[in-house]
Amino acid sequence: MYSLETRKLCKSFGALTVADNIDFRLEPGARHALIGPNGAGKTTFVNMLMGALAPSSGEILLGGENVTQVAQSTRVRRGLARTFQVTSLFRNLPVLDNVALAVAERSGLATRLWRPAYSHKEVIAEARELLAGLGLAGDAATRVADLAYGKQRLVEIAIALGLRPKVLLLDEPAAGVPSHEAQKILMNLEKLPHDIAILMIEHDMDLVFRFAQRITVLVQGVVLVEGTPQEIARDPRVHQVYLGEQAHA
């Protein structure tokens, strides 16, 4: 059984096809990367996996169960979490609250109407622990909007981890950060628990080849090839559409 699987997943906006019969499998505990040139349909694919976008046809299976028609919030409760390509945080709230909101949702405490959030020490302790694990212990009280962008990327990851996911989708976790900070993010990603299956979408080839054990290449909504990093690096088709394009740039 796969942690996450798609069968003949399709999505078109009018005449534009952004996902064309995608068959994709994520093994339990996988470190998998999805790469492809701009406009290949990577983020659309993630949005469909999450349930933020309905596919035109095809199936999505989470832990072997068909979740194609299941609401996003239910998928999250069944162990699917994501980070956003462009940071999507609660900008005016303290870093601690950003993570605590996720922890509270996961532990089913978010709908409590009476006892103050402040006295839910177990939620706060878990959020602090997650922040400490990512080297953000000193920033808990800082408003997210006042935080350096590299650290905001880490808060994205902390929120996702607060959901204790079985499957984690990282949509360009290092987008928009300088390379020395990207290294820090990668270090933190390498420390993530091994039972979480991770799918990373990334443009930074350096990051992809260091992190991933398998790579899928998506071009114009079609899976071009899938394989180990060595196979992908050797594949002439990949060179032509993707790595070649980078060499020109």
Binding site: A110, T111, A117, A140
Partner: protein, 320 residues
């Protein structure tokens, strides 16, 4: 002022409104009916702050619940022979909650301008019903002869408005306590999350729509109680409790005081209604001009309302 980092301990400043209200009761016995009116609109503004300030639901239709509560209490007192004020309040609360649940479930999947128009449409429909259903509501003449008995069978509504004032104060105190608990609770924190970034709340597994429907229903209930209080204090209901105008008034009051701060709902109605009372006596035809000027000043120079201005002031003082 909510969430996991906010200590919910009562600060001394939070006692000030209550001390001020009691001082007003003893020092200005001639103004108690204006005082009761202010207390009612504070409760109304507080209910609006819960959905606008914390959950980020923009509405021009909050008078629907205020008006329904007002007419429910009125109809119970004038037609049904139910004179116990607390039973009237309970009836108003129940019907407003139902309307909040039904309309909330219908409109809260929409956002922004669509939502705004839908809320406005609902209160406009209610206004039209109240206008046409004269046997129940008295139509444009209003519903008079609303009988209101003693509070708890003990305290009669007197001519000077002493009972009315203390009764409204007690209800406001309860409403404030409930709102304060909610604001500081995980639910309150979750609502600010929805206001800040709804897409993110979806991605952490929150069924945003149902969460909004619940708080909308709670807020509607509170607005209905405020409306019922107004009926009981006046022993009369007019059409001016429904439609765009009272919705706009309460919105202006809240913005004037400061949105999403709980105590903005206290300051706004005081300033607005006192200014209205004063200006309407001095310039009966132009008093709206004064209110308008006040609002323009606040929106241009103090986006956080009067409380936001105080914030800036105290922060500057600390910086010195």
């Amino acid at each position: 002022m909510s969430g996991y980092s906010a200590n919910p301990r009562l600060r001394w400043t939070e006692w000030l409104p209550w001390i001020a209200a009691l001082a007003f009761f003893f020092l200005m016995p001639g103004y108690l009916s204006l005082g009761a009116r202010i207390l009612i609109f504070i409760l109304f503004a507080l209910s609006l702050d819960l959905i606008l300030g914390y959950a980020g639901i923009v509405t021009l239709g909050h008078s629907a619940f205020f008006g329904l509560g007002a007419y429910t209490a009125g109809a119970l007192g004038a037609h049904a022979g139910v004179t116990d004020p607390l039973v009237q309040l309970a009836g108003a609360a129940a019907l407003s909650a139902l309307l909040g649940l039904a309309t909330g479930a219908l409109i809260l999947r929409t956002r922004a301008l669509t939502l705004l128009m839908l809320t406005l449409a609902i209160t406009a429909i209610l206004l039209e019903i109240a206008n046409k259903w004269t046997s129940m509501t008295g139509g444009a003449d209003g519903l008079s002869g609303v009988k209101v008995g003693e509070v708890l069978g003990l305290f009669r509504f007197d001519l000077y408005g002493k009972t009315a004032f203390l009764y409204c104060l007690a209800m406001l105190f309860i409403g404030w306590w409930v709102v304060r608990r909610i604001v500081y609770s995980p639910y309150g924190a979750m609502l600010t999350g929805i206001r800040e970034n709804a897409a993110r709340m979806h991605a952490i597994g929150a069924p945003v729509y149902w969460r909004l429907v619940l708080i909308y229903t709670l807020s509607a209930t509170m607005a209905g109680i405020a409306g019922a209080l107004l009926t009981q204090v006046n022993q009369f209901v007019g059409l001016n409790v429904l439609g765009l105008e009272p919705s706009g008034d309460i919105l202006v009051m809240l913005i004037l005081g400061g949105v999403g701060r709980m105590y903005g709902a206290f300051i706004g109605p005081v300033v607005y209604l006192v200014a209205q009372d004063y200006l309407a006596k001095q310039y009966p035809e132009y008093w709206y001009l004064g209110i308008g000027a006040l609002l323009i000043v606040v929106v241009l120079f103090a986006r956080g309302g009067i409380l936001g201005m105080l914030d800036v002031f105290t922060r500057n003082k600390k910086a010195l």
